[in-house]
Subunit: 344 residues, 4 copies
């Protein structure tokens, strides 16, 4: 069985593994105060052209979302998100558990628009019943989204402007950020993101690392005491150097970009295979996640050799599945899958 | 200006006021342990034919919702509610502030159905991704709803059954319960409600009292230590007897029913006035809240003498307003309003 | 049985009751936006010589403490309090329920000192392990304390200075504030308190009102959006005018001061009675709560006619009780008690 | 500089590293559902002679404490702990952030006694003011304690009995559990701990793993839905197999025991060195942490070659430091340190 169901099926990229082996016996200080973390912060800030940013390393995505959002909001404030947002659907209520409502905006493809944000903010801030409503205190977007789509520079700039208008920070969940940047239709760069977002994070778990997310805080008002938040929310790894070593390796040269490109190139081959064979895709994703709509028979046939993630039942005879590539996906597995699609 | 904008514009029903005056100099123990609370509990249990229920008195509706829901749910559980539910829209995130997500079901008229609950529960409990989703731990309904509609006995029974099937308690927000029971189309009684719901509350604030809600817990599993929850959430009034005196007066004889009937009768006159004159109503409410759709001109004309609550802008030339009657509404005010509607 | 066990055994001061009766039929807006609340705010600010303060009305003490503290602290911060503080001992974990640790300082008489605060702040802010410790974000004191003692102007000024040094606000719980101001040894005025504290509240529940606490926020940084916090924490009374009417009556002329003086004068008579008869007092209280140490026999004798609150078992043969006077205490009851003490 | 300041300075034990390398390219399911986790659970249950226990893997100690405690307590309950407990002092308020008070018992050496627990429980459960106090819902102990001391079988049994009497679960923080079991004075086994505790965890972070704690829940009442709690609190590692592989390696044969013994043997050599040379120890620790009291001169001399953790300033001329050994400590480093102690 060849697994395409997610992008965290394997261990860690070989270059990172080698660095972990090489440094294993070294003694360092704990909790992210070591020199590997220091270097990783330097390389990330350089890649983002954001020297004045604060960079923090956390273990996983839910943890990073929770810690950032809980740090930013006051108790009566909520976070705006697409109904499809990871925080709204896939984190077992982690955000609410810190006391905050998620103010959802309808979305089919995973993205939200500046005009949606504007409308919600106006309604909550200017309503005669405002005192009874949760006040928007943060806008959360994912890039790529949970549906594989990605934001354009123009869309992000507009979101940034409307956030600025209401004095509400903009946060980007970049659990798969590399795969958005590698999308053929992408026109965003890390420096763009650092400029338009008040805070974002660069995911490692799904892009070559054993685990780890690098939170980048560019807005000075959001920086204060964030390390206390990490410790309280259980995200401060004793052996913090493990995060430093991994992110240093990913960002010292172009490893993060290279392995993101690798995954997206393979995803595009799968995408083209389905399209060529006449299958429809549920979302127009140009990143590492593909969502083909499959008749029952085709699905059963492919499932003999490949495992996909169930996404949704579209109707009685069609199922949407999620197919992921990753840094670890083998080219020959993809070629085999495409060949089998052609045979359907 | 005659106020029809809400049902808490005046002080307290005269009978209650007289009892407060009569008992003012008496010395009693605090925190709800006095004899007035004891008697009020007795009369309420009698009215509900629920001798084994626990009855607790709290100060306000948001507080009662918060305290009950926080008491019932485990940390990873959420409460199912209509999108229009008071807890979902009008409590400034009070429920989320205790750590719990509100799992909303779409509703136009304020009611939710057993089949909606079933579908959501199935999705969250049986999904392959269940571990990432908030688990439903309680179903919340309002009766009457925030839109003035009310549940039938058949609807409530079905909800009760589906809750039983999933082993999830059913809670009724009765902030305006008397007005639902007084609705011409109502076929529910307090004993029915006590039988079908695991917990509910009987609102006093909007039905004759200065303030106060009587929470009735009929499910034994939900009773344990609820007084600690009240104290922690700030709802335990030092002079608890104030709540006891008010609810004793409301339930010793038929005062609660009488003043509810008074309000709904007047609301029906207003309703008929609008209908007769050809106006449409936004919701088919048979209780004390009416939601006429008014052209701009008609609204402006009526606003010269009457204040209503703004509800929503339907389109560029029509506004929905909320008109409330209450225990305190004067018959002559309603007659005047109806006459003025006829002149529009 | 004559009750001296607490200061909330009776209803409400007659002047307030009369105002409630007079205004009962009036229609006002809800949630504290009415003219009575407006006037009450005016008179309180005037009494405090603090025109620029924000004044908010809440229902009870635990609610006021919780709402203020949750509004002020960031998630990783805690509130410094005496081990004897109401928030630390008598609120069923209400503060922790909003996510915050109480950093306690040992105290026998209920007061804490500037040097204690300084030492704790230094330890938590300058420790090499600071990242693992809760950061102090607020200092909470009660005046009078839970033990009846009260702060001098010099003590309060020193606390204010040390708070200023660490940039941490100072909050005073004034659930019984009038009784502290009426203490023979008091040298503080409301304007002093408004000047030295960043936030404090003036208790009504125990000083003549049915219920209600007036929170006064003098520090501009703590004012923003506090009404949202009140709503979320369940403290926003629908019929907010009830709070306005009560506090207007208490502060329009000198009622608050007069009835506080009444209670303390009677408490001093009781205190002198015990001292004259040779009994010791557990705390040196000059306010409305007295804590005599009574041999078993004396206690039993007095309990035939009077009820006191049990405070603590000092040793096998001595018990400390709490005796409270209040605005409602009758002079003849105190004279009878003193006479009975003399007969012991 | 040779680091003795903590037991998480190095990477991972070589046997584990080798297993991570060997399995790196394998594809597994995520979130702890893989076969490595399954095997690790099997071996741990076997070592504990607790077939019916549930075993869960989390990333770090603060996270494990928080998730377990938040899962067990109802909102108005708190957890009993020594004042010195990790949760009370070193977790930046993580427990309070989930809404729960820590009810502290004084302790000098880090241990609490059954009689202390009994007294606190009686006071909170039987007090006339119980409704105002946080109810004890869990007893938390660390073994070894934060001061290096360890519980005897008799002490643990007594604690277990008093917890049973009050129907309150007993939880053991075993972040360094192996080092307690390896202490020369230890008479506890893993099966004993599984029998006396309702829940405990076996720390990996400080005993050979990169990271990871294995929570063992033996009390059926505490098992329900714990995986939802892990997900919500951010502790569910996407690549869960990393935890499985590590704990399988530690428990398949005797690795966990062997490396714990190694560390404690070396700690005993250091201990004996200090004692022989006439230094006093702050706590009587027989585990991997030693707390010598050092005159300023001796400390400065040793600091030329070795780094220790500052513990506390005992008086103007004496400092307590913490010296840790670990699975990774080199015998020759310890011999060098002992030789240098002898030269002081």
């Amino acid at each position: 069985m060849i697994r395409f169901e997610n992008d965290y099926s394997e261990g860690v990229h070989e270059q990172i593994l080698n660095r972990l082996i090489e440094t294993n016996q070294e003694q360092t200080t704990g909790y992210g105060t070591d020199e590997y973390c220091e270097k990783a912060r330097f390389y990330i800030k350089k890649a983002c052209q954001a020297e004045h940013a604060d960079v923090h390393f956390l273990v996983g995505g839910t943890q990073t979302n929770t810690t950032l959002i809980a740090s930013i909001l006051r108790p009566y404030q909520g976070v705006i998100s697409a109904t499809t947002g990871h925080i709204a659907t896939m984190e077992t209520g982690a955000i609410e558990a810190t006391g905050h409502k998620i103010l959802t905006l309808p979305s089919d493809n995973g993205k939200i628009t500046a005009s949606q944000v504007k409308e919600l903010c106006s309604a909550h801030l200017e309503s005669p019943a405002a005192i009874h409503t949760v006040q928007p205190g943060l806008v959360y977007i994912s890039n790529p989204t949970e549906n594989g789509t990605n934001y354009t520079k123009a869309e992000l700039e507009e979101l940034s402007q409307v956030c600025g208008h209401f004095n509400i920070p903009l946060m980007m969940d970049g659990a798969r950020l590399g795969y958005a940047l590698a999308a053929p239709n992408n026109d965003l760069s890390l420096p763009d993101i650092a400029r338009f977002c008040d805070v974002f994070y660069i995911g490692g778990t799904k892009i070559g690392a054993l685990f780890g997310e690098a939170a980048v805080i560019t807005n000075d008002n959001l920086k204060k005491d964030f390390r206390y938040m990490i410790k309280q929310k259980g995200g401060m790894l004793a052996k913090g150097r493990l995060l430093g070593i991994q992110f240093e390796t990913l960002f010292k040269e172009n490893l993060y970009e290279d392995i993101s490109n690798h995954a997206v190139e393979l995803a595009m081959k799968i995408r083209e295979g389905f399209i060529q064979k006449g299958f429809k895709l549920r979302y127009d994703s140009m990143s590492n996640q593909q969502f083909p709509i499959l008749p029952q028979e085709a699905l059963e046939k492919l499932n003999e050799k490949y495992s996909f993630a169930f996404w949704e039942k579209l109707d009685s005879s069609h199922t949407v599945v999620r197919i992921c590539t990753s840094w670890a996906t083998k080219k020959e597995h993809v070629e085999e899958l495409v060949a089998d699609i052609m045979k359907l």
